[in-house]
């Protein structure tokens, strides 16, 4: 496998008129490779890589890039094998593995698949000689029949439909006017009695949200008018409401 693997000049190949390969006639790179081997009457187990590699490259030369993807992978593989075969080795090297083994395995495997495919093809051919009963495709779906029903049936149907409607969940919004005036009066009355009151004193015993908002607005309004002073001694401490006159003079 040393002498034979020396590549013949590639240019000579193009000159051979017999070497015409139509790639669309091939199922892929392995098919093309098998074809090349058959042409040369070469044993698959002992492929002259260099020669086959050159022929392969020659054959895919014409390919468009899209078609070529599958073939280029094989081409690069062949080039690599060609290089590996050129490396010198000792003849008594026991550990030497033929770099072509993987390619040979794939070719044999593919050849076998081809054989099975051929068998399947002829089985399908034999089967197609026997015709099954022709049958019509299912007719297209018919439009629904016109309805026939009396008034009672229809009313019952309407009732069933209405009964099936879930009770709508309505949210009734009730206006609860804020009693800002009242809250202001109450705060003023409290401040009449005491100089300082707490936020909770102003709020009253069991305040609803409306009361709370009323008191808040009342306090802000009174503060704006200057009738009282709002003070918070420390961050997050309860607010102190004081009469205007008690404002410390700064």
């Amino acid at each position: 496998m040393t002498v034979r693997d020396v590549a013949p000049p590639t240019a000579a190949l193009g000159a051979e008129p017999a070497f015409v390969v139509r790639l669309d006639a091939f199922a892929g790179p392995l098919d093309l490779l098998l074809h090349l081997l058959r042409e040369e009457q070469i044993e698959i187990a002992d492929i002259p890589i260099a020669r086959i590699c050159d022929q392969f490259l020659q054959a895919i030369h014409e390919l468009g890039l899209n078609q070529a993807a599958d073939y280029l992978e094989m081409a690069s593989r062949l080039v690599r094998l060609k290089v590996q075969m050129l490396l010198p080795r000792n003849l008594d090297d026991e550990g030497w593995e033929d770099p072509r083994a993987e390619l040979v395995r794939r070719l044999l495997e593919y050849q076998q698949i081809r054989e099975i495919a051929q068998w399947l093809g002829s089985a399908a051919e034999r089967r197609s000689e026997r015709l099954a009963r022709g049958y019509l495709p299912a007719p297209p779906e018919q439009p629904p029949m016109p309805l026939t029903l009396d008034l009672m049936e229809m009313l019952q149907a309407v009732e069933r439909v209405i009964a099936a409607i879930p009770v709508p969940v309505l949210h009734r919004v009730v206006a609860r006017p804020l009693d800002v005036e009242g809250a202001m009066r109450r705060i003023e009355a409290l401040l009449e009695a005491r100089e300082e009151i707490g936020w909770l004193d102003a709020l009253g015993p069991t305040p609803a949200i409306a009361d709370l908002l009323s008191v808040l607005l009342a306090l802000l309004e009174l503060a704006r008018r200057g009738a009282l002073v709002l003070r918070q001694p420390a961050p997050f401490a309860p607010m102190v409401i004081a009469r205007e006159s008690t404002r410390p003079t700064l």
């Binding site: 199922a27 892929g28 790179p29 392995l30 098919d31 698959i44 187990a45 993807a69 599958d70 992978e73 094989m74 593995e97 033929d98 083994a101 993987e102 040979v104 395995r105 794939r106 044999l108 495997e109 593919y110 050849q111 076998q112 698949i113 081809r114 054989e115 099975i116 495919a117 051929q118 068998w119 399947l120 093809g121 089985a123 399908a124 051919e125 034999r126 089967r127 197609s128 000689e129 026997r130 015709l131 099954a132 009963r133 022709g134 049958y135």
Partner: protein
């Protein structure tokens, strides 16, 4: 002909696909499977003995009444029926890989055929010849394909054991490719073929 054979004949005539013995047994509640088999045998002999234009064919795990090959050409010429479209070489190769390696993923099919297989797989699946039978545990959990019942029907096979055996092929079949596990794998191939 015995009444059960007549009933089976009527059922096979009216069905658009092969019927199994089990399915035919549901025609009559008092019928056991051996009775159906005997009836089918009688029907087959009847067709053969009287030289009918149709015959009883066992395929895809069931039975179907099909016209004899002799008449196909004349029927087609008269355009009473048409053969199905032929499978392309690529489709046949892909089916061959799937039939012998199932369940098998797309990557292995492409590896064996040396070309991308996406388009062929899609059209085979659309024609109902193959189906997804699971997912591989490998990275990305790729789909695994197997042959569908229609595959047997289209090829006129009774079941997958009708496919040629490994030893019947010129090239010896490696049912499960060794996955580069031991050092002796590489050698196992080369001397075997020399």
């Amino acid at each position: 002909m015995n009444p059960l054979a007549q009933l089976c004949e009527a059922a096979l005539f009216s069905a658009a696909r092969p019927l199994t013995v089990e399915e035919l047994a549901t025609l009559d509640p008092d019928t056991a499977l051996p009775d159906v088999r005997a009836a089918l045998e009688e029907l087959r002999e009847h067709y053969d003995f009287d030289q009918h234009g149709v015959e009883l064919v066992e395929l895809a795990g069931g039975y179907q009444v099909l016209s004899r090959p002799l008449h196909a050409a004349a029927i087609e010429r008269a355009q009473f029926s048409v053969r199905g479209t032929r499978l392309t070489p690529a489709a046949l190769e892909t089916l061959a890989v799937i039939a012998y390696r199932q369940p098998v993923g797309r990557a292995e099919i492409e590896e064996i055929r040396g070309v991308s297989a996406g388009g062929v797989l899609r059209s085979l699946q659309e024609r109902g010849l193959i189906e997804v039978v699971g997912r591989s545990e490998a990275l990305g959990r790729p789909l695994l394909y197997g042959t569908a019942p229609l595959f047997l029907e289209l090829l006129g096979l009774r079941d997958l054991t009708d496919l040629p055996k490994a030893e019947e092929l010129t090239v010896a079949l490696q049912p499960h490719r060794p996955e580069a596990e031991g050092p002796d794998d590489a050698e196992a191939y080369v001397p075997a073929e020399s």
